[in-house]
Homo-oligomer: 220 residues x 2
DNA sequence: AGGTCAAAGTGAACGGTGTTCACAAAATGA
DNA sequence: TCATTTTGTGAACACCGTTCACTTTGACCT
């Protein structure tokens, strides 16, 4: 185990692998999974289609790498926002709005990260596997935020942390998906009382935190 | 225009068309758009693949019919719920929860109804085209509900109707998509403070209406 | 240096897809 | 009965992901 520096062979391999990923990323960002084909990547990097299988075991495998790395970037950005020193309420809103802003910067990535996950692999090892995903980690920062809000007295104390976090995640996810699928979603800018897309995102985030915040006398 | 009754030729045509759609529907519900192929439909109804093109101009055309008719059924169910005579607050919650219940009964349909809409057709005639869609109509019942809530004094009066409706739609849509993509989404049932999927849907709907309801003194 | 051996890269093929087109069969209308 | 339109077909085209036997390459060891 003395070879901590990488050999030229490995470097070359990593370079080719990187070229494949770069080409794939470029096509994927513009045209989504539909427009991405092994043969097209091969063309773009001047290799034969079969060569790609020396680096990735399948197209799904390759695309999974793209998705994970995208979610990693999204996670990083949300972390940046949430670590800022700011009043909790503003931070919560900014965190949610930031999530959908990053998400819709690469609509194809965001959508693909959620589609095509259905019913495969082994079932039992769910919890642990999910936490090791960037998606899982992104969810856990949300959980932390909700937890902070409850313990800090900003949110209603009777709320269950993890269920609330999941509900919030669903609401945010919904807006991101809407915009990803219908690129001009709110489409309200030129109407009476119209909003730009950015304004609408803030509006949505505001409604979400409002649903969690304490209110004076609503004793059930 | 005296031929209001249909000729046997047309009836035969409709019967074949129906058989195609039935076969497609069956496969689509079980395996989604991925498992559906023209050749497979052709096999199932004992026709040649090319024959299908005498009834539908493309696979997308065929699938669009499936999607629209699914959204029609969804729309019908939501209408049923919303027309019930019930206190507004309960009706609003039930309407939202009903939407996601129907949506996740056919996850493939619901997901497909939103994916693959990006950037085609002519751009200008947006508004009118959308209103003629079952998706558009489903949105308009939501708008009506929000409008009723505001005018009835249940919701905060400063809320803008259409933006609020869109935000609510996004939140509901988000939960539906989550469950459609991650079939055991809340996955909370066996945890402390766990909820079944049905309970979670109600919880989510409750949070959404709470974000709209009047609260005593939150003067900005 | 020469020889060995694993890795990298290739071309051709397999089975699959949506779609088209010239053609045959059948139903329609006169 | 004949002409015309509609319905159905089989073969092909161009693409797809993937595999496999094969050659080329490059690194390592004597």
């Amino acid at each position: 185990m003395q070879d901590s520096e990488i050999s030229p062979a490995e470097r070359r391999r990593l370079r080719v692998r990187g070229a494949i990923l770069d080409a794939a990323e470029k096509v994927f960002a513009e045209e989504g999974e539909a427009g991405l084909s092994i043969r097209r990547i091969a063309d773009e990097i001047d290799y034969s289609p079969a060569a790609i299988y020396k680096y990735f075991s399948s197209k799904d495998d390759l695309v999974d790498v793209l998705k994970e790395s995208f979610f990693g970037r999204l996670l990083g950005t949300v972390h940046e926002i949430i670590d800022r020193r700011e009043p909790f309420s503003a931070r919560a809103r900014r965190c949610m709005a930031g999530y959908v802003r990053i998400a819709i910067e690469k609509p194809h990535h965001y959508v693909a990260a959620f589609t095509g996950v259905r019913a495969d692999d082994e079932a039992p090892s769910d919890a642990q596997a999910f936490d090791d995903t960037n998606k899982g980690r992104a969810f856990s920062v949300l959980t932390d935020m909700v937890s902070e809000g409850i313990e800090g007295g900003h949110f209603r104390p009777e709320l269950d942390t993890v269920n609330t976090a999941k509900s919030v995640w669903a609401s945010i996810h919904g807006l991101a998906m809407m915009i990803a699928h219908l690129p001009d979603f709110p489409a309200t800018a030129s109407m009476p009382g119209g909003m730009s897309q950015a304004e609408f995102i803030d509006f949505h985030a505001d409604l979400i935190v409002r649903s969690l915040e304490k209110q004076s006398g609503v004793a059930a």
